[in-house]
Amino acid sequence: MSWLDEPASETQIPHRSRLWLYVLAALVLTFLVVPTLIVVPMSFSGSQYLEFPPRQWSLRWYESYFASSSWMQATVTSFKAGALTSLVATPLGTMAAYGIFLSRSRWTVLLYVILITPIIVPVILVGIAVFYAYVRLSLVNTLIGIVLAHSMLAIPIVMLIVTSALKSFDMNQELVARSLGANRLKAFLSVTLPQIRFAVITSAILAFLTSFDEVIVAMFVSGGENSTLTRNMFTALRDQIDPTIASISTIMIVVSSLLLAVSQFFGRSRKD
């Protein structure tokens, strides 16, 4: 235990005097991680009340999930919406980020602000506004409607990430490429894009998750055949605690963690 008397920082305070700090930090860290993860083992619990540790291990809540056609349809809808959102928001956001970054016009600040507003305006407001507009455009309960709304929500995230990557990219390389004979588009595709690809991939993943996890707008705008997974979960939560949600949550946690790992992997190999 001699390390307790070692100095812990530049001010030479020994570890012993701030043990309470380490305990508090550990507790907070636990608080952050455990609740998210504990759903996983609980979803295998045989009882209605989801115990931990489960007295009986069972797959019944997974069975009820896969057996239910409404849950399955919602899952498909969510994946479709997520993929389409990513496909729409990523190029749109990347192009906008690139255009704004290179442009030296006085309109750029205004444009940037407008494109950021989806994350500034409270989501509930966006939800009812979009619903209001979609009622008039007959877009309620359609896949296109959801994708358009979710893409709008994802664009600021794509823009922020890509802009940050462009800032740390040496634009002289594009200039050199152009001096060597490439036009602007070719210079972007062969020099710039390969070097910001990790940012683009990360923002594509985040765009997917933005749509996949989104509740509020989906609540208003998706429904019927095109109801998303999160919408159904939310409705189910408000009525009664259906334990099937535990298995769905586990699957969602796995999906999120996998995607987080993928993006970290890509991001890391660039920086190292």
Binding site: S9, E10, T11, Q12, L21, L24, A25, V28, L29, F31, L32, V33, P35, T36, I38, V39, M42, Y49, L92, M95, A96, Y98, G99, L102, S103, R104, S105, T117, V121, P122, V123, I124, L125, V126, G127, I128, A129, V130, F131, Y132, L148, S151, M152, I155, M159, F212, D213, I216, F234, L237, R238, I241, I245, A246, S249, I253, S257, L259, L260, Q264
Partner: protein, 304 residues
Amino acid sequence: MAVSSSDVLIGQGRPNAAGLRRDQLFERWTLLALTAPALLLVLITMIIPVGWLFWLSFLADDGSLSLEHYRRMIEQPSYGRTFLITFEVSLLTTAICIMLGYPLAYVLSQLPRRIANLCMIAVLLPFWTSLLVRTYAWLVLLQRQGLINAWGINLGLWDEPLALVHNLNGTLIGMVHIMLPFLILPVYGNMRALDRDLLKAAANLGASPTRAFWLVFFPLTLPGLLAGTLIVFILCLGFYVTPAVLGGGKVIMVSNRIANDIELFFNWGAASALGVVLLILTLLFIALAARLVRLDRMLGGGPG
């Protein structure tokens, strides 16, 4: 020597001026055109609908221009209660986040980078996990037959199951859990970027570790803390999911009220008026944040 067409123009004082200006404009508009698709999408799906809603809030039920929705907001005490609860929850959540998040950020910033990065995954994991899933996890944990109560009773900490959810307590716990990463990240970033030599200088000049912390370290982390606090507070103001699920109908924040007005009462006028007020509040706090953060940077992070 070489005779080019521009020689003809050279005598006119500004050769190629018009052509160059055309090229400049063309380039500028081509670049801005890249933002057009995104702009169109945001305009059509958000700016215009929200503007529409704005307009709605000034229409009475019979279609005439009126301020009755706003008047009702001021007159009826239930609206005041809604705002009160919203501010109460937001302030409490923010305060708890600061008390829990700052120490954690501090410990993380003292760890060697490898280990800190590993721990940051623990902080980021909630970020990447669905909001709904996390809120559901708390629902399961905090319910009467849930984990927390089961352990509490088993360990003899209390006899009867505590009402930890479907009330303010549960809402707070859930919201703190969601908001903590938003506080920790900017504070951590600020702390990491701090010049360690400053603390050595403080110690060398005679400050005890505690005084060095309060006089040197803490003031320099205020920009990050301020940023995190404002982000958390602003997010709390507009929050919907967690109070809806964990509040059990007893915690009705502004966003919940708006949703109820639409879903239960189809009262677009009231809902849009509330939405406008929420938006204005949000923008005010963002403007405040921008002012404070810039001011802080100007003052170099504190007096003295």
